[in-house]
């Protein structure tokens, strides 16, 4: 059980050189129930990455409060960063296993590598990989730790369409097998509708939550393009303020 409540009163970046003080987040209140798949949708540069970093505990310089409820122990976080952030001096496999406890099961890593079609490349150093492959490695790394909270920052950018679809299906499959809270950042509304239980629309900086919309398309017809498109049309019609965002 990992419910997250976000209440950020203010997050700003101090003035530096020509750039003045930048207020990234103001009065953002979100409540993210346990095991929900949430897509954060907003224009680029609106502070989505900042929000994920705050939730991951990487950025402590803000006023407000984040509570990640978790019984007994601190929640495990899997984070797929916007850039893959692999250690270039460790092989693909080492990059994945380094994040795991020493008694990890090699079979899970094998299975994940196989699904992402990286078995061939597992002993290669990341500099020899294409960006798409590196991205897949960083996704495996996040899955492999069995996270309580999975943060994904536009993870499917630069994957080709078939791979993106495959990874998306894998992501949903894994999530259904072992439910955990997912926060998925994207600016692609179709992708968001196909994945999410709930969409949260965010405003340009200072970032606030504009509206929250539940996606009620049943999980088994999420791969149906027309259902997604119909939902998108209706959404844009009902909420003209969202149209302005995208």
């Amino acid at each position: 059980m990992t419910a997250i409540t976000v209440d950020i009163i203010n997050k700003s970046y101090p003035a530096a050189g020509q750039a003045g003080l930048h207020r990234a987040i103001a009065d953002l209140k979100l409540s993210l129930p346990s095991n929900e798949f949430i897509c954060l949708v907003g224009p680029s540069g609106c502070g989505k990455t900042t929000l994920l970093n705050i939730i991951a505990g990487l950025d402590q310089d803000y006023s407000g409060e984040i509570t990640v409820e978790q019984q007994h122990k601190a929640p495990k976080i899997g984070y797929v960063f916007q850039n893959p952030r692999l250690l270039p001096w460790r092989t693909v496999r080492e990059n994945i296993t380094l994040t795991l406890p020493s008694d990890y099961d090699p079979k899970t890593v094998d299975a994940l590598l196989e699904t992402m079609q990286l078995t061939q490349a597992q002993h290669v150093y990341p500099e020899r990989l294409s960006l798409g492959m590196s991205r897949r490695v960083s996704i495996i790394r996040a899955f492999a730790v069995d996270p309580d909270v999975l943060l994904m920052d536009e993870p499917f950018v630069s994957l080709d369409a078939p791979t993106a679809r495959q990874v998306r299906e894998l992501l949903i499959g894994l999530w259904q097998q072992r439910p955990h809270t997912v926060l998925f950042v994207t600016h692609d509304l179709r992708e968001a509708i196909a994945l999410a239980d709930r969409l949260i629309f965010l405003s340009p900086p200072p970032m606030q939550s504009l509206s929250e919309i539940r996606v009620d398309i049943p999980r088994d017809i999420r791969d149906d393009e027309t259902a997604i498109e119909a939902f998108r049309q209706k959404l844009l019609q009902d909420h003209p303020e969202i149209r302005a965002l995208l």
Binding site: A56, G57, I77, F81, R85, L87
Partner: protein
């Protein structure tokens, strides 16, 4: 093989340059025909005699021993302090002045002071070398630590890497080029300082021996020891540093 193709081999070029150097030396020595510049053959003869008598290996060994101990102490301390200063801005600001002072004290001054304060003993000799080398290592490693990739450090924090794991897998590989730089410049520096240390206050080692040759005006002896000296450094470079470089660089494209 045509001449240009023959010349294009780096190994041949290397060999040619050494041959040319010895040739020039021989020519100059023959032209001067004076004790102040013996021919390569004379120097080789002295080298051989000194090696057979055990004098050269003994003094070279003593110097090497001092080199290794002072080098290890300076590198370990320097890396630790360098990483600390690079990671902690307050400490860095505080100790920056100290570093500048130590960087600019002439080697001779630290050597004399160490001998005056601690006596003409082995530990004073080592300490003098370490004090001379340490600031250089600290500055180099501090630069390296400042340039560490923040993205990767965040990744390590997010996935809860332990301190040791972060140091070994995230920080150390990034510092490696800086450590190698410090090692190379360090060896060159320590070699030179150690001779002065030995000359001023020790009764064995290369520096002591060179001092002796100077008093006897024995240029052949000085050159023979110098060649042994340079050869040892080359061996260290080829057998230790180069393979380390290769091993650390194998992930690069």
């Amino acid at each position: 093989m045509t001449l240009t193709k023959f010349l294009s081999h780096y190994r041949t070029l290397n060999l040619l340059s050494i041959l040319l150097f010895i040739g020039l030396w021989q020519g100059l020595a023959l032209y001067l025909s004076d004790n102040s510049l013996p021919t390569p053959a004379t120097v080789a003869e002295v080298f051989w005699q000194e090696t057979l008598s055990g004098q050269l290996p003994y003094h070279l060994g003593m110097t090497l021993l001092r080199l290794i101990s002072s080098f290890v102490v300076a590198m370990l301390l320097g890396c630790a302090i360098g990483i600390l200063l690079g990671r902690n801005q307050k400490l860095d600001v505080f100790f920056d002045n100290w570093l500048v002072i130590f960087l600019n004290i002439p080697a001779l001054v630290t050597i004399i002071l160490c001998y005056v304060w601690f006596g003409l003993v082995e530990s004073a000799a080592i300490l003098a070398v370490v004090i001379n080398k340490l600031p250089n290592v600290v500055v180099t490693i501090r630069e390296g630590t400042r340039a560490l990739d923040k993205d990767l450090l965040e990744m390590a924090r997010c996935y809860r890497f332990s301190k040791l794991k972060t140091l070994r897998h995230v920080i150390w590989p990034q510092l490696h080029p800086f450590v190698m730089g410090a090692t190379r410049s360090g060896l060159a520096l320590i070699w030179k300082i150690i001779l002065v240390v030995e000359l001023l206050g020790r009764s064995n080692g290369m520096g002591y021996q060179l001092h002796l040759f100077f008093q006897l005006f024995d240029v052949a002896g000085i050159l023979a020891y110098t060649i042994a000296f340079v050869a040892v450094i080359q061996v260290i470079e080829l057998l230790i540093l180069k393979p380390l470089d290769r091993k650390a660089g194998r992930w690069r494209r």
